[in-house]
């Protein structure tokens, strides 16, 4: 992962007056697996189509390997696309599909035959040369679409929700396949998806987008552990997002309770958003009719304050068994907290709830300019 291979500069694109991309800046490095992640209509597919040459930006430039390719036709670009729903040529055999780009480039038949064999081997579909696309399953068609693209030895492979039409098990298998392919080919993958799990599994870099703006760029770990705003936090995984006030560095007040945290630099008495992942909330049960001065209660209290000086008292209102863990809802301060735990608490159990300071993620409230872009109503 070294130098910039692609540089998108100030890309703006509108369709029928509605802005899809607004002054987007993004660079992609060589050999990177970069995922554009976001809900439908966030501009991720438009970004990919601009890279592929199927759309021209209204403003801005696309630099590829130091060359401006903004208005270069798709057939002259050194990238290949794997389309949504495969887009195979149904009137050709698998071999003819794979050979399409090579025949256009007038490669020798010997070369083409070798390439077809190599590509089919790479996607684990040896011996499928004479089959027709109609006779293949969705997963097999997807592999052929990938084979058809990679035989042209592109520097970049663009993938537009390539696994969207496959069932869950197949999708997971294909995720590993794609990572393996990327490593074997040693080329850049730019992947578009709305599936956060797919993005977290495969990417080197994730670009979270919403409403034409980039919300956050980072490694999967960054994006998950340090979401920069409420949109990213909510879009990536489950989370509890609440209003809070930053009292001063390393102290945040949530629903009137002061919690220790590790974040600094937010100022004093400043309204912020707080994200707490459900698996980071820790629960300790206290007996129902127990008096606060009882030994039992004091013991629980000592245990919880060892985690964080601040804590909530709440009641488990809902529990679902999820196999590896229990998913619970805990009512505290009028808020329904989502909690994941390997331990089970009966509905109605009174609990003390807290969180390690390290796992409290503080985020600035959205700036007025970007308010629309991160507004929570749009996520659905």
């Amino acid at each position: 992962m070294s130098n910039k291979l692609i540089d998108l500069q100030n890309i703006t694109k509108a369709f029928d007056g509605s802005i899809v991309l607004d002054d987007l800046n993004l660079y992609i490095r060589e050999n990177e697996f970069l995922t554009l992640l976001g809900p439908s209509g966030c501009g991720k597919t438009t970004t990919l189509r601009i890279l592929g040459g199927f759309e021209t930006p209204d403003k801005g430039r696309v630099i590829f390997d130091g060359r401006d390719i903004t208005s270069l036709a798709p057939n002259k670009r050194q990238l290949n696309t794997v389309f949504q729903k495969y887009a195979l040529f149904s009137h050709m055999t698998v071999a003819e599909n794979i050979a399409f780009g090579l025949r256009i480039r007038k490669k020798s038949e010997d070369y083409i035959r070798d390439k077809i064999r190599y590509a089919l081997k790479l996607v684990n579909l040896e011996g499928f040369e004479e089959r027709t696309p109609d006779s293949l399953s969705g997963g097999q068609q997807q592999r052929i679409a990938i084979a058809r693209a990679i035989v042209n030895e592109p520097k970049v492979l663009l993938l537009d929700e390539p696994l969207g039409a496959l069932d869950l098990k197949l999708r997971q298998d294909m995720q590993y396949e794609l990572i393996r392919l990327k490593n074997e080919l040693g080329i850049t993958f730019i992947y578009v998806t709305h599936d956060q799990e797919e993005a977290l599994t495969m990417s080197d870099t994730i670009v979270v987008m919403n409403q034409g703006y980039i919300q956050q760029i980072g490694t999967p770990e960054d994006i998950y552990n340090e979401p920069q705003n409420a949109f990213v936090a909510d879009f990536i995984g489950d989370s509890n997002i609440v209003n809070a006030t930053m009292i001063h560095d390393q102290l945040v007040e949530i629903f009137g309770v002061k919690y220790a945290c590790v974040d600094t630099g937010f100022g004093t008495d400043k309204p912020v958003d707080v994200v707490i992942r459900p698996e980071d909330l820790e629960l300790i049960a206290v007996p129902e009719n127990e008096d606060q001065s009882s030994e039992e209660y004091q013991k629980a209290l000592r245990k919880i304050t060892r985690i964080n000086p601040g804590y909530f008292e709440g009641t488990v209102s809902h529990i679902i068994f999820k196999g590896m863990h229990y998913e619970m809802e805990v009512q505290a301060h009028g808020f329904e907290w989502l909690v994941l735990s390997t331990r089970m608490f009966q509905v109605g159990t009174k609990v003390l709830m807290s969180v390690d300071p390290y796992n409290i993620q503080i985020m600035n409230k959205p700036e007025s300019e970007d308010e629309k872009a991160v507004s929570m109503q749009e996520i659905v």
């Binding site: 592929g52 040459g53 199927f54 036709a73 798709p74 057939n75 290949n80 696309t81 389309f83 949504q84 729903k85 887009a87 195979l88 040529f89 149904s90 009137h91 050709m92 399409f100 780009g101 256009i104 480039r105 027709t132 109609d134 058809r148 693209a149 042209n152």
Partner: protein, 275 residues
């Protein structure tokens, strides 16, 4: 119970097929292969061999082929343009093409007769502009013109349907893999539209080959097509046997042309249509 229901549901279609397709076909074969006394004979078939009838058959084949080719050349580019347009505009244009089909076909051909007459509308306008007049009424050209006018929508619609079904990403994939516009058309768009082309050709060629109305009105009594020859046997001469015999020969010609089409379609059509 289920079986009973099936019989009730299938029954009407079977009766329809028997009454209006199979029995008439058998009757034509019967009349075509017997003489007036009901004895078996090949003579009705051989009646086609007279120079006059061979001339009509060959002219019919030439004219209907010509009409089919010209319809194809006119309809394909239009269908291609339509398939790229927005739905609203497409609806408007296809409606304009289809509206004439709502009119009686006889009326449409009569209109052309009036237009093409020696002193018809077209020649009056040409005369006013001091341009040479057009004398094509009662010639094969007028008949071909009538065929093209009458059957163009039947070529346009199936091709448009086939083109419209092509996923835009399949076309984009061709560009993406390095094909230019010309290569994309010949290697991807055209082959994928073949089923539409084939049914368009069938829907123009067969009615054009058997028509007698168009040649009646636009060819006068001077140009006879095979349709007219057969029609005369039934309506004027009253010889059902010869009429049926000639019909059988024509059916064989149509069958052969269909088989030829299928053969040429095999490379492409088999895969695109076998879904």
């Amino acid at each position: 119970m289920n079986k009973k229901l099936r019989i009730w549901l299938d029954g009407p279609y079977l009766i329809w097929t028997a009454a209006f397709i199979i029995i008439p076909l058998i009757m034509i074969v019967y009349y075509g292969l017997t003489d007036k006394t009901g004895a078996f004979t090949w003579s009705n078939i051989l009646e086609m061999g007279t120079p006059e009838r061979m001339k009509a058959l060959i002219l019919s084949l030439i004219l209907s082929l010509m009409a089919t080719v010209i319809c194809l050349l006119m309809a394909y580019p239009l269908a291609l343009i339509l398939s790229r347009m927005k739905t609203g505009a497409v609806g408007f244009i296809t409606t304009i093409f289809i509206i004439p089909m709502w009119m009686n076909s006889l009326l449409r051909i009569l209109a052309w007769q009036t237009l093409l007459e020696r002193n018809g509308v077209i020649n009056q306008i040409l005369g006013m502009l001091n341009l040479p007049k057009l004398y094509i009424i009662n010639t094969p050209y007028a008949i071909a013109l009538g065929m093209i006018y009458d059957f163009l929508p039947f070529m346009l619609l199936p091709i448009y349907n086939a083109l419209q079904k092509i996923d835009v990403n399949v076309i984009n994939a061709a560009y993406d893999l390095g094909a230019n516009r010309f290569q994309t058309f010949w290697k991807v768009i055209f082959p994928l539209s073949m089923p539409g082309v084939i049914s368009g050709i069938t829907m123009v060629f067969v009615p054009a080959l058997t028509t007698f109305v168009i040649s009646d009105f636009l060819g006068g009594s001077k140009v006879l097509l095979i349709g007219n020859v057969i029609e005369q046997q039934f309506t004027q001469v009253g010889n059902w046997n010869v009429g049926s015999g000639l019909s059988l020969v024509l059916m064989v010609f149509i069958l052969i042309s269909m088989l030829v089409m299928q053969h040429y379609d095999k490379d492409i059509g088999e895969r695109t249509t076998s879904l």
